[in-house]
Point group: C2
Chain length 322, copies 2
């Protein structure tokens, strides 16, 4: 939760002059997002969301992310929409950083999703996958199976500091997944980070999706697997079959899964658990001493991984697959 | 720049139900202010500013601060206006903290004020003093002469770590000011922290004043002295007589100063410099090792203090007093 890059009123006003958004009236740095600097901007034309991309977002990827948001919005997905400059571009430069303005999206994220929220998420995720089907740009997923070994190598020496024998567990799991990772499943645009923070609700109604900065082209089922991990475990890390069943059934009503997709779901879920375990481990060891930001607990994903390892079929996730 | 207290959507919605502000649509934590947690709230009735008061603001003082903002707004001063609950109160409770909603104020603070900004500030400060004249509540200034010795004692042992012989300079100055601090000058509501961050402009026009959480009843000239320190020195800490003259002349056009107020201005300016020097020293030694927040440089105010010590009369501030 931080604003990394400070923007002066004068430079913001001159940046905005390239857009058709009227006159700058106010702006506030938003304590949200750990990757970028975000500002809420009030102009005589309304409220906007301004993002300055910090070093963790690669500038060459921005046209993919912003183009995707535009594409999805045009297909009826409620997500922030890039505002084009008078020259027709979506990426500008402000305070030495790549920067973009998007529309301000109402809605609030839910801390503790219930069954109805999981059901709504299932529908929204399937709609997102369908809406992305004809998006023409490509971006590989650096955080899928091909990228995990490098993450593991980066923290291998210290991994057992977090939990005894964790290194052995991760090494074995990594080998299993590298050997058995499913190929040939339906691919397309995936969000790849659709945690509850990134899904807005108004009352009980899912009102929008945000933060497409991990989006890429990958196995659609992997996106479902990420959501099962992120939405269907309780605070005590126990899996809730009612929530999982609601998510999966509502997804499948909108985009039916093939028998092979159902079959491979447990493996995809193990992969998703390993992916977040690994990135959390990296962040865990990356924290400078005395930092105010506490990294998220990697052990949460060890417990989730252990659950998925015991799953025999998608049925164990709470759905009666065809 | 932080949000200290996290607020869940559900608890915010239930807090807002006590107010006539419609339905909650969105809220964002604002990276602004070092004392409190601030949120921008969008409801079906508009945009509001929500503050949760953290430990540095004393709860018994809140009726003074909020009552003052209401009073000033009713006298034509553009400042955030407290929104009353259905029960008619301005202070509520949210996430275990005292909390208040105020109207959202457009405008932006200026990083490097020019002469025109200083002139506008002079008028606004005088108007604030006039508008506060009939405000019936009282709050003593804990950060005026009576409070300085305690601040000094708190950092006395380490003060020379900051600069050689700084302890001797501060001790001597403190004694001089305690002995000669002017009594009997016009008193009233003062803002007491009217730095450029707390003054909004739209274009070149001063559009509003914010952050009344140091406001109190004290010598009006002391508020002018604070502004001279905060607005009329350059980046290299040299005093700019044109800016100071513009501030003072425009203040005096709106509220004329008595001969005694002019005479005592240099002493008040020394006091104001010492006050910020002392609180910055306290903050300087108070920083936990490894903290991300860098405290403001106390030495800036040593240089300002040394300037004021050499001033012979208000004339040296750039104004031809009567």
């Amino acid at each position: 939760m931080a604003v990394y890059t400070d923007v002066a009123a004068e430079e913001l006003a001159s940046f905005l002059a390239d857009y058709d958004v009227g006159e700058l009236l106010a702006y506030k740095g938003i304590a949200e997002g750990v990757e970028n600097s975000n500002y809420l901007v009030h102009s005589s034309r309304g409220y906007y969301f301004l993002t300055l991309y910090e070093r963790r977002v690669a500038e060459p990827d921005l046209p993919f992310f912003l183009g995707l948001m535009e594409h999805l919005a045009s297909r009826g997905i409620n997500c922030p929409q890039p505002v084009k400059s008078k020259a027709g571009t979506t990426v500008g430069r402000l305070a030495g950083r790549p920067a973009a303005i998007v529309t301000f999206l109402d809605g609030m994220s839910i801390r503790r999703p219930n069954v109805a929220h999981c059901a709504a998420l299932g529908v929204a995720l399937a709609r997102l996958h369908l809406a992305g089907a004809d998006f023409p740009m490509r971006r590989d997923n650096a955080l899928s199976v091909a990228g995990w070994r490098q993450l593991y190598e980066g923290c291998r020496k210290r991994i057992d500091e977090v939990q005894r024998d964790l290194g052995a567990l991760v090494a074995a799991e990594l080998e299993t997944l590298e050997r058995n990772w499913p190929r040939g499943l339906p691919q397309g645009v995936i969000h790849a980070d659709l945690f509850p923070d990134n899904v807005f609700f108004l009352g009980d109604k899912l009102s929008g999706l945000i933060d497409f900065y991990f989006a890429c082209i990958d196995t659609l089922g992997y996106d479902i697997a990420i959501c099962l991990n992120a939405w269907c475990f309780e605070q005590d890390h126990s899996y809730n079959v009612t929530k999982g069943g609601a998510l999966l059934a509502n997804y499948a009503k909108t985009r039916p899964l093939s028998p092979l997709e159902w079959e491979k779901l447990p493996l995809l879920a193990r992969g998703a658990a390993l992916r977040f375990l690994l990135t959390r481990l990296v962040d865990w060891f990356d924290v400078p001493p005395g930092a105010l930001v506490r990294p998220k607990d990697p052990l949460e994903y060890v417990r989730k991984l252990r659950f998925h390892q015991k799953v025999r079929s998608a049925r164990d996730y709470g759905v009666i697959e065809p």
